[in-house]
C-alpha cells in the first residue's frame, strides 16, 4: 500500500508539472506569436505521469488475507491476482473452510431448528460450556 502511494505521489507531481509547463508554453506562444506545437518533453512527462499512476493503482490491488471459520488468518498464494485454474483457485476457500458448493452441504432452507435448539439446550445442561 505504501509503495502505491509513492507511485501516486510521483505520478501526480509529474502530471501537475507537465500541465503547468503546458500552460506556460501556451502563454509564451500567445505573447511571442509562436505557432509551433507542444514540446515533446512536456508530452512525454504527462505520459510518464499517467503510466506511473496506472502502475501504482495496479500494484495497490492486492489479495487481502481472510479469516478462516476457525478464526485463523489465511493468506493467498499469489500476491496480486487470483488463480484461474480451478484446482488452484479453490485452495484458499478450502483453507478458510468453505467451498462454492456449501449451499448443498449446509442446506439452510432445510435446517432442523427444533433439533438444533434441543442439542443446544442439552449442551448447556451438560455443563460443557467452557470446553
Amino acid at each position: 500500500m505504501a509503495s502505491s502511494l509513492v507511485f501516486y505521489f510521483v505520478g501526480v507531481l509529474l502530471l501537475v508539472h507537465s500541465g503547468y509547463s503546458s500552460f506556460e508554453f501556451h502563454k509564451l506562444t500567445v505573447l511571442s506569436h509562436y505557432s509551433g506545437s507542444l514540446p515533446v518533453d512536456i508530452v512525454a512527462e504527462a505520459v510518464v505521469g499517467i503510466l506511473i499512476i496506472v502502475i501504482g493503482s495496479i500494484s495497490s490491488i492486492k489479495n487481502l488475507p481472510v479469516l478462516s471459520l476457525k478464526g485463523e488468518k489465511v493468506y493467498h498464494k499469489s500476491t496480486y491476482l487470483k488463480f484461474i485454474e480451478m484446482k488452484n483457485a479453490v485452495t484458499v476457500a478450502e483453507k478458510v473452510g468453505l467451498s462454492d458448493y456449501d449451499e448443498l452441504k449446509n442446506r439452510i432452507g432445510f435446517i432442523n431448528i427444533v433439533n438444533k435448539r434441543k442439542e443446544y439446550t442439552e449442551w448447556l445442561a451438560s455443563g460443557q460450556t467452557k470446553a
Binding site: 479453490v90 467451498s99 458448493y101 435446517i111 432442523n112
Partner: protein, 303 residues
C-alpha cells in the same frame, strides 16, 4: 487490513454460506457472542446490505441458541424494514422458522401454505413431515421430498437433502442417484463427487457385512462398487487436490482387508494394480494436509 474488516468479512461469509447450520453448540455460542459484540461496536459503520445480512445471521443464531426474545426483536426490525413487501419469501421463511421454534407449528404451516407458487416456502413446508424424534425413520419425509422434487426437479439443495436422508436410512444406491442428479447441473462440484464415492463405499461395507459366500461373481460385483468409489474420490481430488476428505476416503479404500481376497481373483487384477501406489500417495497427502491428526483418527471422519 484492519481486524474489524477481517471480522466483518468472516461474519458475512458465515451468513452467506450458511455454515452456521452445521456448527456445534460451542461454535454457535462463540459466533453469537462475536456477532453481538461486533454489531454493538461497529453496526453504524456497515452499509445497509451488510447490516441486514448480519441481522439475518443474528436471527438464526438467536433462534438456534434459544434467545427467543432477541430473535423476535430482530424479526420485528426486519419486518419494519421489509414487511411492506408481501412477496418476500425470505422474510416469510424467517417468520415461519421463528414460529416453528417457539412451538407454533400450526401458525407456521398457515404462513407457508399461503401461496403454493412460492417455492422457497413450499420447500420449507416439506420439512414439517420430518420425524424429529427418530431421524433414522424418515419415510414420510423422504416421500414428501420426492413429491416436491417431481414438481421442482432442478432444486439442487432439495436433491442434496434427499440424498442425505437416503444415506442416513442406509439406501446408499438411491443417495448416489440423487448426488448424480446434482452433478448433471454442477459437473465440478468436488464435495458431491466425494459424497458419491462415500456412498459407494458405504454400500460396499453394507454388502460386505451381509456377505455369506466367497463366490467369485459376488466378489467381482463388490469390487465394482470399490472401483466406482475410488473413481469418484479421484475425480474429486482431480478438481481440488487439497480436499482432505477425498484423500481420507482413498486411504480407507486402499487399506481394506477385503483387498487381500481380491489377490486370488484374476478379473479384478486391474483394480488392485494401482492400490499400493495410491495408498502411499494418499498417506503422504493426508500427513501433509492434516499434520496434527493421527491416521487412525482421520479414518473416523468417514464414519
Amino acid at each position: 487490513m484492519s481486524d474489524v474488516l477481517l471480522a466483518k468479512n468472516r461474519l458475512l461469509v458465515i451468513s452467506s454460506s450458511g455454515a452456521f447450520a452445521n456448527f456445534n453448540p460451542l461454535q454457535l455460542q462463540g459466533v453469537y457472542d462475536e456477532l453481538d459484540t461486533f454489531l454493538t461496536g461497529h453496526g453504524d459503520s456497515l452499509d445497509s446490505i451488510e447490516l441486514f445480512t448480519l441481522y439475518e445471521l443474528q436471527f438464526y443464531l438467536s433462534v438456534m441458541t434459544n434467545h427467543d426474545i432477541k430473535a423476535k426483536s430482530i424479526l420485528d426490525r426486519l419486518l419494519d424494514q421489509f414487511g411492506s413487501n408481501k412477496k418476500s419469501q425470505r422474510i416469510k421463511l424467517l417468520q415461519s422458522i421463528y414460529l416453528e421454534a417457539v412451538g407454533e407449528k400450526a401458525a407456521a404451516t398457515k404462513l407457508l401454505e399461503q401461496n403454493m407458487d412460492e417455492t422457497l416456502l413450499s420447500r420449507r413446508l416439506v420439512t414439517f413431515t420430518r420425524n424429529n424424534e427418530n431421524e433414522a425413520d424418515n419415510e414420510e419425509y423422504i416421500s414428501t421430498l420426492n413429491f416436491y422434487l417431481n414438481l421442482s426437479p432442478s432444486d439442487l439443495v432439495a436433491w442434496a437433502e434427499l440424498a442425505h436422508e437416503y444415506t442416513r436410512s442406509g439406501h446408499y444406491d438411491k443417495a448416489v442417484f440423487c448426488y448424480k442428479e446434482i452433478l448433471l447441473q454442477e459437473p465440478h462440484a468436488y464435495p458431491i463427487f466425494y459424497q458419491v464415492g462415500l456412498n459407494y463405499y458405504y454400500q460396499f461395507l453394507q454388502e460386505e457385512r451381509n456377505l455369506k459366500t466367497d463366490k467369485k461373481d459376488k466378489i467381482v460385483e463388490m469390487t465394482q462398487l470399490l472401483s466406482y468409489s475410488r473413481d469418484n474420490f479421484l475425480r474429486s481430488i482431480e478438481i481440488c487436490d487439497v480436499y482432505s476428505l477425498s484423500w481420507v476416503g482413498l486411504y480407507a479404500l486402499t487399506g481394506l482387508k477385503f483387498n487381500d481376497k481380491l489377490a486370488k481373483v484374476k478379473e479384478v487384477s486391474g483394480y488392485l494394480a494401482k492400490n499400493d501406489k495410491l495408498r502411499e500417495l494418499s498417506e503422504k497427502k493426508i500427513k501433509q494436509l492434516l499434520p496434527e491428526q493421527d491416521l487412525a483418527e482421520v479414518l473416523l471422519q468417514l464414519k
